[in-house]
């Protein structure tokens, strides 16, 4: 579903990604962990070309990004993204946040878009908030709306960029709950997160990034139980 080959990203002289290879199969949940500044978020943003890689290739569902014939807007419809700071549209109601892209990008009729949005909002437990504005919601509620908004494009892959890092502790659970349900439905997910519990319980694979490289890549059992690299052990001993 997602194939990344030898991905590099420089910001000026700073090499943030230094040759990443990763393959994610359909339905897999991959959690990426690592110290801050290791390039996790940049990597995720390269997957939908919010950042343009310096070199290397990203292939999503058979479509190679950055090729002359590739319409990036078309690819992005199939790649949902959830941001650390939610990035909900503050001038639109919750319902309109969810229906905007299906209406404008897919040309979906108002009624069908509303119906789909209400379905997705019920799924994240927020159907009753449909007429409210984002400023009236708690952080956890905002992030659940953001997930519904991304799902409204019927994506094949979902990217989560530290989705719970900006949340108060008591709200983390509700967001992780929604993500877990999504994983169980078979969604392909790539999650940058510090939630070790989520990684252990939901992930098919856990990946450690450091210094712009992938150091360790394994099942949660291997990753947490018997990491191959000293660096992984050192990182885990600090966060667990």
């Amino acid at each position: 579903m997602v194939i990344v080959e030898n991905l590099h990203k420089d910001f000026g002289t700073l090499q943030v990604l230094r040759g990443i290879d990763l393959q994610v199969e359909k339905g897999q949940v991959v959690v990426i962990i690592g110290p801050s500044g290791s390039g996790k978020s940049t990597f995720l943003r390269c997957l939908n070309y919010l950042e343009k890689p310096t070199s290397g290739t990203v292939t999503i569902d058979g479509v190679r990004l950055g090729e002359p014939g590739t319409d990036i807007n078309r690819v992005r419809r199939t790649v949902g993204m959830v941001f650390q700071l939610f990035n909900l549209f503050p001038h639109l109601t919750v319902l309109k946040n969810v229906t905007l892209a299906p209406r404008k990008v897919m040309g979906m009729a108002a009624e069908a878009a509303d119906e789909q949005a209400m379905e997705l909002l019920s799924k994240v437990g927020l159907a009753d908030k449909c007429d409210q504005y984002p400023s009236q919601l708690s952080g956890g509620q905002k992030q659940r709306v953001a997930i519904a908004r991304a799902l409204a494009m019927r994506p094949k892959v979902m990217l989560f960029d530290e989705p719970t890092s900006a949340l108060d502790p008591e709200m983390i659970g509700e967001v992780l709950g929604v993500m877990k349900a999504l994983a169980q439905e078979g969604m392909t997910m790539i999650v940058v997160s510090h939630e070790m519990g989520f990684a252990r319980e939901v992930a098919d694979r856990v990946v450690l990034m450091d210094g712009g490289l992938i150091l360790e890549d394994g099942s949660p059992a291997e990753f947490f139980g018997n990491p191959r690299h000293e660096r992984t052990r050192a990182f885990l001993s600090r966060v667990l």
Binding site: N73, R74, N87, F89, H91, M153
Partner: protein, 220 residues
């Protein structure tokens, strides 16, 4: 020091006709400036250098030169090389509109750039084009933020419009000049016209404050 109320009363209807001209000119130049300014601002925040540099130089030129020089250039200077017949009304409107456009462009640009980058990214991540994301997500938010500075720009334009009297337009300022000449009472003429401008700007300032207040109580 005397201020003859009779003189003022006699000439007030004459001056009042100038209020209309001043307001019409200000409103037209402001509306043209809003559209022009938006296009220039979009050119400046966009990625195309072929659009960006002309937009930068347009705003630099207008903001870096006196409006009086611009009015003279359009009314007296350019007709010599572009061979058009100078027309006081048209030239005054063009000069004021071009001037307003540059200042309003900076207001639009500031408010567009004040919108968090994450808004554009979220919209693009959903598959929207740059234009769709601008139109549906960034601009609606930027418009709200632009309202207070746009109100101030309208008031500034109202005052600046007095300069077009130099090319013979019968606006408020020109009529004050005429009143001073006919009545031999320049103090009454210019003090009264100043009071009229003051009443207009204070009135519009109240409207702007009201809009600002309503905006703060709204969402986002």
């Amino acid at each position: 020091m005397t201020y003859s109320v009779e003189i003022v009363a006699k000439y007030f209807p004459f001056l009042a006709k100038g209020i209309e001209v001043t307001l019409v000119f200000t409103v037209i130049a402001f509306i043209v400036g809003l559209g022009l300014g938006l296009l220039v601002a979009l050119g400046r925040v966009g990625r195309s250098p072929a659009l960006r540099y002309p937009c930068i130089w347009y705003t630099n030129f207008i903001r870096g030169t006196p409006l009086l020089a611009q009015v003279y250039l359009i009314h007296f200077g350019l007709p010599q090389v572009l061979h058009y017949r100078p027309n006081g009304v048209v030239d005054a409107l063009v000069a004021l509109s071009l001037n307003a456009g540059a200042y309003i462009a900076e207001i639009w640009r500031g408010s567009i750039e004040s919108i968090d980058r994450g808004q554009m990214e979220a919209a693009r991540s959903l598959g929207m084009t740059y234009a769709q994301a601008m139109r549906e997500v960034v601009l609606p938010q930027a418009f709200r933020r632009a309202i207070p500075p746009l109100g101030n720009e309208f008031i500034a334009l109202l005052k600046e419009s007095a300069l077009v009297s130099v090319i013979g337009l019968e606006d408020l300022m020109m009529r004050a000049n005429m009143m001073a000449g006919r009545s031999f009472r320049p103090f009454e003429a210019y003090f009264t016209v100043a009071l009229i401008y003051l009443a207009l700007t204070l009135g519009f300032a109240r409207v702007v404050n009201h809009l600002e207040g309503r905006m703060k109580s709204g969402h986002s």
